[in-house]
């Protein structure tokens, strides 16, 4: 192995890693992701039919989708959807629920405070940090730009 430099070895390995099945993954991501969105659309339409206003429909849909994602994670189904759907299962808000519930379940044996409650945000925490953080920046930028111009 003395003849091979680190760079050469890394390149050599890179060429030997089997490539993902791009087409199959994309098709399944499309179907799974699209289906979850259709499910969201159905929920939204039902809520509108009950006369809820636009804002309540949006929040209600999020809540029900999160409930669905959490439930499917709890009964051990969402990881299987994720295995097939990939990004199609990760990107919808149900995937956000999955990323929150799965570590919470896993760390239950470490207790309800330092296990469930603190590990709950292991994967989902950054979403809240960067999401909420950047929204405040956007709001302030709006004031600066609108006030200045």
């Amino acid at each position: 192995m003395e003849k091979m430099s680190n760079k050469e070895y890394q390149k050599y390995i890179e060429e030997r890693i089997p490539k993902p099945t791009y087409a199959k993954n994309m098709i399944f991501a499309f179907i799974v992701g699209g289906s979850i969105c259709v499910f969201g659309q159905i929920i939204g339409n039902i809520l509108s039919r009950y006369g809820l206003d636009k804002e309540k429909v949006a929040s209600g849909t999020s809540i029900l989708l999160v409930l669905t994602g959490a439930f499917l994670t709890g009964i051990g189904v969402y990881d299987k959807i994720g295995k097939v759907g990939g990004a199609g299962a990760a990107i919808p808000i149900t995937g956000f629920a999955n990323s929150l519930v799965s570590p919470a379940m896993e760390f239950k044996r470490e207790g309800f405070i330092f296990g469930v409650a603190s590990k709950m945000f292991n994967i989902a925490g950054p979403v809240l940090v960067y999401g909420v953080g950047s929204s405040v920046v956007v709001g302030i930028l709006y004031i600066v730009l609108a006030g200045g111009g």
């Binding site: 969201g40 659309q41 990939g86 995937g95 629920a97 990323s99 929150l100 519930v101 989902a124 709001g139």
Partner: protein, 118 residues
């Protein structure tokens, strides 16, 4: 028709995510963040709105829709309540989803056990 549009828009967003996932070493957690931030930025510059008009749930259900709601909330808050509103708006508009995630997440964690993959 709206179902078909939602299916196509949501599906395509996920395909973009899958392409990033398969061509880089990023994990699904990274993808979630990329889409979220994209939603915040596109929402702020007004480019996400047309996508929602067209695709409805296809654009709101993906996490980028969550980002859009955050930035729209912050801007609306800034409009009506200034700087304080900019701080409050984002969370206010997404409060339902976040509170649901925390509560349902906690309950599901209490009542269910992780199972070994087969």
């Amino acid at each position: 028709m709206e179902y078909l549009k939602a299916f196509i828009v949501g599906g395509l967003l996920c395909v973009i995510g899958q392409i990033i996932l398969d061509t880089t070493k990023l994990t699904p957690a990274h993808i979630l963040l990329i889409f979220l931030i994209s939603g915040v930025v596109l929402g702020a510059i007004g480019w996400y709105e047309p996508l929602i008009k067209f695709g409805e749930a296809g654009a709101t259900v993906p996490i980028s829709g969550f980002g859009y709601t955050l930035s729209k909330g912050a801007i609306d808050g800034a409009k009506s309540n200034g700087v304080i509103g900019a701080f409050m708006g984002g969370l206010k508009s997404t409060a339902g989803g976040i509170a649901a995630a925390i509560l349902f997440g906690y309950i599901m964690a209490i009542v269910s056990e992780p199972k070994t993959k087969s």
